[in-house]
């Protein structure tokens, strides 16, 4: 081994140690939140961590395979409702285990049936899965058990929920980190880029997709299960709320999928926003979320973390002003004083402007 290589590996080891240490301090600080923050602050943090787990779990599957899953609320709801149904029969932790099992089986069945064929079928199916389960559960509860909603009273307070969710968040980040460094993760990325190529290089496309879908669903189900004791009364309409799926997708793409920490940037602003808006102006919240969503799809395909990275890269570059400060000013004046010409009418001008605003994706070489 040459001296420089040895030096490099030493630096890398030190950087890894520093990063691990910093993350450990961060997690410890977060774990201390219940004793530092107010009740309101803790409730907010529970929401943040809950959505963080859901979003990172979503990105495990959808970020790599590029298949938009709209089934988050289905798994979240299954976890929550399983706990609500079994809480009088089993100890709390046993209900969590059962919930994970149910979520995994559901994901396996859905995955095997739909992912095998085409991505499109999967998206369609995930779109209505949560609605369908809600319908079935309402029917079951009304006609078979004659109850509408269940009470969850267990000695599992907000602090306990928070600590468990935090542990789950560490686990899901670890899973994402490992995935990015494994052959399996690489295979998934290839599938996301081009399925035909993936098949050609010998990746078992169907099995890989189903496997990561099941893993991601297990995290989501457990999150739902852990959140169940937070609400003393749960009915199917509450557990299977389609807004959960929508918020998770928007948080993930707002943060950006190319980085593991991207979701953090998406979850925090949207949770704060939803706290502010949802109680007072719930319908404005829906409109606003939709608009934000479209803005991201059109103008920020790499999300906030992409913006941050670009900004960071630009800060590193030297400032270029070849014609001094007056140069840009003269340019702006020249542009303003140009006569208005509309060769293709107002509609043409709008189209041209729109085309210029839209980010161009470089042509495939």
């Amino acid at each position: 081994m040459s001296a420089s290589a040895e030096e490099e590996s030493r630096i890398r080891r030190r950087r890894a140690a520093t990063a691990t240490g910093a993350l450990a301090v961060l997690v410890a600080a977060l774990a201390a939140t219940p004793w530092l923050a107010s009740d309101y602050g803790l409730a907010l943090m529970v929401n943040v961590v809950c959505y963080l787990v859901l979003t990172v779990a979503w990105a495990l599957f959808s970020g790599t395979t590029r298949l938009v899953s709209l089934a988050t609320s289905a798994f979240f709801g299954v976890g929550m409702y399983t706990v609500a149904m079994l809480i009088k029969l089993l100890p709390l932790y046993a209900t969590f285990l059962v919930a994970i099992g149910v979520g995994a089986v559901l994901a396996l069945v859905v995955g095997v049936l739909t992912l095998r064929i085409s991505g499109m079928f999967f998206v369609i199916f995930s779109f209505g899965l949560s609605e369908m389960i809600r319908e079935l559960m309402v029917w079951w509860e009304i006609n078979q058990t004659h109850t509408m909603g269940r009470y969850v009273y267990v000695p599992f307070d907000t602090t306990m929920i928070y600590e468990h969710l935090l542990a789950l968040a560490v686990l899901v980040f670890l899973a994402g980190w490992l995935l990015r460094r494994s052959r399996f993760g690489l295979a998934l990325l290839v599938i996301g880029e081009d399925e035909t190529i993936a098949r050609q290089v010998g990746i078992n496309v169907a099995v890989s997709k189903v496997a990561i879908f099941v893993v991601s669903a297990m995290f989501m189900t457990l999150t739902g299960a852990l959140m169940a004791p937070r609400f003393s009364f749960i009915n199917p309409n509450f557990a299977f709320n389609p807004l959960v799926s929508f918020q998770v997708v928007i948080m993930a793409i707002l943060g950006g999928l190319q980085r593991l920490w991207g979701p953090v940037l998406g979850v925090i602003p949207l949770i704060i926003l939803s706290e502010e808006l949802q109680t007072e102006f719930p319908f404005w919240y829906s409109v606003f979320l939709g608009l934000v969503f479209m803005v991201i799809v059109y103008f920020l395909p790499r999300g906030l973390s992409g913006l941050l990275e670009d900004g960071w890269a630009r800060l590193g570059q030297p400032l270029e002003l070849p014609r001094g400060l007056t140069g840009p000013l003269l340019d702006a004046w020249a542009r303003l004083s140009r006569p208005i010409t509309l060769p293709r009418g107002i509609a043409g001008a709008i189209e041209d402007r729109w085309r210029r605003i839209m980010p161009r994706v470089p042509e495939k070489r």
Binding site: V123, F127, L129, W139, Y298, E351
Partner: protein
């Protein structure tokens, strides 16, 4: 109620599903856009019919003369302004599907939220042709029969245009192979816009018909989008006749389910049918295996 009456009721409902699905098929099969906000235009047309009827006493069928062209234009604008940039920047079909799903998903929430803001989340209903009609000894509500009849007329017009005009031939070529269509001199971009807008026009007609016999609120759109998706997959993407048959099939299955089991399980029925088709005939009921 006899079994025959239940099945005929299902066929009548299925005719409407078929109409919704044919419009969706124009957007998905021809223009290649998965429009998750599709049902929101149905909801908007239903509200338009409702307000025109309750405020100005305008006959809903006459009201279509206004709502269908407006929805046609709105969908054309959606295609030109919102979808064209995505079509242009997508490298593969898969990528285009992903991006259009995301964009129209956002549009869905904007439209639904705006409708809730404007019209509140209350259930709406108005009474138009509610009297019973006796056909072959069975009794049906007149508005349902009218809706079924008009749905048949619209479907027939679309079928005639697609199969017996030059424009229709070009559209069918587009559904089969967009690249090949461009090579033989078909204006792909213009026709995609036309197909997308026509889908929007059809869904406005369907929305008006739905509003005459069902209660509705700003949240109904998504249910119709899901059913349209299921019907289109069952009947085959780009296959208009397939959508017709699959739509009627779904209507009958739903009617049987609400008669024998429970009327709250309609979506479960749609998904059960979808799953059966997925497992048994993944290329749709009338699909042929291709390479």
């Amino acid at each position: 109620m006899s079994a025959a009456e239940v099945i005929l009721g299902g066929v009548i409902l299925g005719g409407l599903y078929a109409l919704v699905a044919i419009g969706f098929n124009l957007q998905f099969g021809m223009a290649r856009i998965v429009n998750l906000a599709y049902g929101e235009f149905l909801m908007a047309a239903a509200f338009a019919a409702f307000w025109m009827f309750t405020l100005f006493r305008i006959n809903p069928i006459a009201g279509m003369l206004l709502s269908v062209p407006v929805s046609f234009g709105a969908n054309w604008l959606v295609y030109r302004l919102l979808m064209t940039p995505l079509v242009r920047r997508a490298r593969t079909r898969q990528q285009l599907e992903g991006e259009t799903i995301l964009a129209t998903f956002g549009l869905l929430f904007v439209l639904r939220g705006a409708a809730t803001l404007g019209f509140t989340a209350n259930n709406r209903f108005y009474d138009y042709l509610g009297e019973p009609l006796h056909i072959f000894g069975y009794t049906f509500a007149a508005n349902r029969v009218l809706a079924f009849g008009l749905a048949c007329v619209f479907a027939a017009v679309i079928w005639l245009v697609l199969n017996h005009t030059r424009l229709g031939t070009a559209l069918r070529a587009l559904a089969i192979d967009p690249v090949g269509a461009e090579l033989v001199g078909i204006d792909v971009r213009g026709l995609c816009g036309l197909a997308f807008a026509s889908g929007g026009g059809l869904v406005a007609a369907a929305g008006t018909l739905v509003s005459t016999f069902l209660t509705f609120n700003p949240a109904i759109g998504i249910e119709f989008t899901m059913k349209a998706l299921v019907v289109v997959i069952m009947g085959g993407i780009g296959n208009i006749g397939g959508s017709l048959i699959a739509g009627v099939l779904l209507g009958v299955a739903e009617a049987l389910c609400s008669y024998f089991v429970d009327s709250g399980l309609t979506l479960a029925v749609a998904y059960a049918l979808f799953l059966i088709v997925l497992v048994v005939r993944p290329r749709g009921l009338f699909g042929t295996p291709s390479t």
